[in-house]
């Protein structure tokens, strides 16, 4: 994609490419705690069925993923692994922080072993509040992220700039 890196993307092409990126989001599941079950319900249950939104939830490794859902309590011990996971993902990459624990520490706000928010380690695009959020809330976060992908300026995003303000669901 030399065209994207040169920064001179024709508008119709940007629109087309953004549309295809929007409906083929490969989501890596980083299930940590209770929220992982609600994420499982959203991704692998026939009732919520995330694939109808064009999200493929089964990449074999973070190197093939566009989106990572950090769902659950981030402890100080798991932090290096999360950082390494994020660095392995190819640009452009998106992060959904699911649940109060990943957003800000949640009920463990005064615990000695819990990191108060995954945004201290990696930049977050969408915050999904709740303890745990309902599967519908996660799907809403994904839909909002897809809207953002649709309207993105590709060259700046490819360079990792201009991420924009994070989206908060609800």
């Amino acid at each position: 994609m030399g065209l994207v890196e040169s920064g001179k993307m024709p508008k119709p092409l940007t629109k087309l490419l953004n549309l295809s990126r929007k409906y083929s989001v490969w989501a890596y599941q980083w299930g940590l705690a209770c929220c992982a079950i609600e994420m499982g319900a959203a991704f692998a249950s026939p009732r919520y069925d995330v694939m109808r939104l064009g999200v493929i939830p089964f990449p074999a490794s973070p190197r093939q993923a566009d989106l990572v859902v950090i769902s659950g309590t981030v402890t100080d011990k798991i932090v290096p692994a999360i950082r390494r996971l994020y660095e392995q993902m190819p640009d452009p990459k998106y992060v959904i922080s699911m649940g109060s624990c990943a957003n800000c520490g949640g009920p463990y706000w005064d615990s000695y072993s819990v990191t108060k928010g995954v945004d201290q380690i990696i930049p977050v695009d969408v915050y999904v509040p709740g303890c745990p959020p309902r599967p519908e809330a996660l799907l809403e976060g994904i839909v909002l992220l897809q809207e953002r992908i649709q309207n993105e300026d590709m060259p700046t995003r490819w360079r990792g700039e201009n991420r924009g303000e994070p989206i908060v669901v609800g």
């Binding site: 249950s45 000695y112 819990v114």
Partner: protein, 392 residues
């Protein structure tokens, strides 16, 4: 990344990285090949790290590193009041949340000398069994998923929703109900709930029958699990296993029957299932039977529900008198106990939580010696642990 890290957090980050590095160096320098599973691996239900030293296809020795989900429950309990702790302990075993509340509340009630009314005890028992179904029905699909069959997982998620609906329509939470109170319950059952629950239970029984055909009767499944990961009864007892892992080894031990903690189990007609083999198959088979037995128990509980109040008289601000209490119950994963020490304050002085999974995975290094690499997954899945239950 950001400038908001405190010094303590930076130190914790550096320490964690150093610990990771030490393990890696340790692994690289030894003879033979090392297989590292985790800290994030689908077969570990979260963040358990299993390090196995291999000789060809066989495991020579295996080690378990836990603590990636340690959230400091016991210390947090010391700075919270009793109603707040109720919210907190919900999240220990997140698949069967209500079952975590019950022993804690019973221990506090024992110290206060309060007795919940019979209707409250029956509804507690009912929800205890509902959370057992919510927990173990997912296990059956999960085990099949680990062994390479994806469809049973979809079925499990589909039918588990019926139980979650019933829990949600009473408590407002899909799986963190926070419904138990010292002296009784938050609310009574809504109108028409009992009929809906019975319909859901017959649906779950159909799910059990389907799974028995689809998964347990499957030749591939049987070959993958029968005779794999055998834990004899003596070993199971000496490692402190409990729940279906112990009953799958042929030990007839169930605290619902053997301990008198005031729940309504002694008034029900039910049976404790055991299996003599002690392998992966028998452990999962016992869990399937327990789901089916629990649906029958819920039916009986719905039929025989006594009338009356659901809340005993308790003061508005709860202060527990000085003393110590230990209450242990048979949770979906095994024995769960709270040792509660009170100094007469609004919060406890010390809480020690005995969780089932911590003891259940302590047998992993023993049982993984000499097995083949694909069997690691089958054994870990059949031992069935929840990371919050291990690390607390």
């Amino acid at each position: 990344m950001t400038g908001t890290l405190t010094e303590a957090q930076q130190l914790a980050y550096a320490n964690a990285q150093a610990a990771d590095g030490r393990v890696n160096v340790d692994l690289e320098t030894d003879e033979g090949m090392t297989l590292n599973m985790g800290p994030q691996h689908p077969a570990t239900h979260g963040t358990l790290r299993v390090i196995a030293k291999l000789d060809g296809e066989q495991v020579v020795s295996a080690d378990v590193m836990c603590g990636y989900m340690h959230r400091g429950y016991e210390k947090l309990c010391e700075v919270r009041s009793y109603p707040q702790i109720n919210t907190l302990v919900n999240r220990i075993d997140w698949l069967g949340s209500f079952a975590n509340e019950v022993p804690f509340i019973l221990a506090a009630e024992q110290l206060m000398g309060v007795e919940a009314p019979p209707r409250a005890m029956w509804i507690r028992t009912l929800f205890f069994e509902l959370s057992r179904i919510a927990n173990l029905s997912l296990f059956i699909g999960d085990l099949a998923l680990q062994l390479g069959a994806q469809t049973p997982a979809f079925y499990a998620f589909r039918d588990r929703e019926f139980v979650l609906n019933q829990i949600e329509s009473v408590t407002g939470g899909r799986f963190h109900p926070n419904f138990d109170r010292i002296g009784g319950l938050k609310d009574d059952l809504p109108k028409g709930w009992i009929a809906d629950t019975k319909a859901a239970m017959s649906r779950l029984r159909a799910y059990c029958d389907e799974m028995e055909d689809l998964v347990y009767g499957n030749e591939i499944f049987q070959t993958r699990t029968r005779g794999i990961g055998i834990i004899p009864a003596g070993v199971a007892q000496s490692y402190g296993l409990s729940g279906a892992n112990l009953r799958g080894s042929g030990v007839d031990w169930d605290l619902r029957r053997d301990a008198n903690i005031g729940l309504a189990y002694d008034q029900l007609d039910w049976k404790v299932w055991t299996h003599p083999d002690g392998d992966s198959f028998s452990r999962s088979w016992v869990r399937l039977q327990e789901v089916r037995e629990a649906t029958k128990m819920v039916d009986q509980l719905c039929d025989g529900m006594p009338a009356g109040p659901i809340m005993a008289k308790v003061p508005r601000i709860i202060k527990v008198p000085e003393g110590e209490a230990y209450v242990v119950t048979e949770n979906p994963l095994g024995q769960m106990g709270y040792y509660l020490v009170s100094k007469g304050d609004t919060g406890p002085f010390r809480v020690k939580i005995r969780t089932a999974s911590f003891n259940n995975i302590s047998v992993v290094p023993w049982v993984l010696r000499g097995v083949y690499v694909p069997d690691i997954i089958a054994i870990l899945a059949s031992l069935y642990f929840i990371l919050g239950d291990i690390d607390k």
